[in-house]
Amino acid sequence: MTDRIDRYVRGELTPEEARALAQESLDSPSLFDELTDAALAKAALTPENLRAAKLVRFPRKARWVIGSMAAAAALLCIWLIDLRSVPVRSLKPVLELSANASQPVLLASGLEPAGAPVFRGPAPDSRTPAQAGSIVSMADGLANINLGSLDGLAKGSELPVFRGDEAVGRLQVTTVFRDRARGRVVEGRHIQVKDQVHIAGADHLGALLEQVDARFNRGDSEGAAGMAEQAVQWGESARVAPRALAILWNRLAVLYMLRGQYDGAEALLGRAVSAAPHTDLVYAQSMNNLGVLAELRGDRHKAEAIYGDALSAFAGEERRAVERNLARVRGSR
């Protein structure tokens, strides 16, 4: 076995031998893990990664000396430079806590920092989530509908069925695909093809937000902002819960701020702060983002006050981002 694994890691197995090894691994979790970990190790060994490893490879003593020198240099810089002279335009809001500490951190759940890994299948772009669909076929008390997980459906979701304006029954979703689903008739005996089904507003909103996040995380910030605007428009017209609207407004505001559109962001954040309960995560996130906005406009006193308010509303991990924002504006005055 050892010999075979050695040949596997060296890429010397024939396809037939590799298949036999794969089959054995299905009966042995430890072998499956060993093969997978070796595969990761092999995949990691690229010239670029090795160069990166060599760049950061210092002897422990050298690391200590370099670290000390860097710390001393940093202290010297802080003493010499009045950070108030740093022009506001050098600040650029970011989403990641691990980024340069001199940059203000924006907060919005769902949006990943730039460069975060994104995994999706190879299919092309998808359609916009729909809130209403119809039954395309029926058999044995099961209805196939042209809405799916893309539209916010999940297994177990219940959908009202309409014929024109008349409610004729309900379906419970049993199988969900990306853009279609199958449901069992749980109420109503005369449900038929072409009857309409409607998705709950909260589920539709969730689907729209998923699309916003997916587009942004894929690097399409313009598309994300466009989808978020569409979601806001829908949410405001559908009169969804204030808290859900606050989430939408904050998300769109962050997208605007990352694109340098600060004026549009301010109004949205103001509405989000007004709509969200003060104990809610989105309130704290929106307050933090208002603080970032004040900081970007050069008003550090206002930013400090807002960050302070935001901090008092936070209890979770994101508190660290606000603490860092607060420390930065305090340190720069």
């Binding site: 694994i5 050695d6 596997y8 890691v9 060296r10 396809p15 590799a18 298949r19 090894l21 794969a22 089959q23 691994s25 299905l26 009966d27 893990d33 997978t36 970990d37 070796a38 595969a39 990761l40 190790a41 092999k42 995949a43 990691a44 060994l45 010239p47 990664n49 490893a53 759940s109 890994p117 995994f119 299948g121 190879p122 299919a123 092309p124 772009d125 989530p129 076929s137 058999a139 044995d140 099961l142 196939n144 997980s149 893309l150 916010g152 999940a154 695909f177 990306r178 279609r180 199958r182 709950a200 589920d203 909103l205 969730g206 689907a207 937000l209 998923e210 699309q211 894929r218 995560l281």
Partner: protein, 203 residues
Amino acid sequence: MSPQAGPPLAGERLPGPPARVAAYEYRRLLTSLASRARWLGSRDPESAAQETLKRSLESPAAQPAVDYYFSQEPPDGMAPEWPLDRLLAWLHAVLHYVVREERSRVGYQREVPLGESRPDPADPAPGPLDRLIGEELRAIVVECFPKLEREQRQVLSMRVEGLKYGEIAARLGVNENTVATWISRGIRELAQRVRRRRGGTAQ
């Protein structure tokens, strides 16, 4: 899907005998993936494994490799383009991402109470494997590679540069068998460190 579940939707696989056999074969793979998902910190490892398999089977590049290496019946067609190690790295990458999605979805559901709704993430993007594990792989090398023995680092570096066993052997003054041994030991040692490293972060 049971045979009584109504007519197949467009593009849906029919549940004939071959599909039932395939389902059995994939259950073994699902078990392995679920075990790994649990180790990666998933709260719902079975679902994560199913989602990983589903996404892999939707990939035109991964699907033939899954069929070839993990089907119980001897494969009819030619060997797939992907070698086994590439498939396993892919499966890990997808699983890792699915577990990450699961965690972020938990946070999302906390943010917006959508009842039982768990909409699928939308919007595909190309080159998923490279984009997904690029940073993780770099971190693996940066953190684990320097801890290998000097000979292992040397031969692996030369191999990555594209040198053949004979050329490496000539440079180091050893025979080719020794080079092959150092390479396989180096990768396996690196793999063990990868596991220990992930073990520290997976919980």
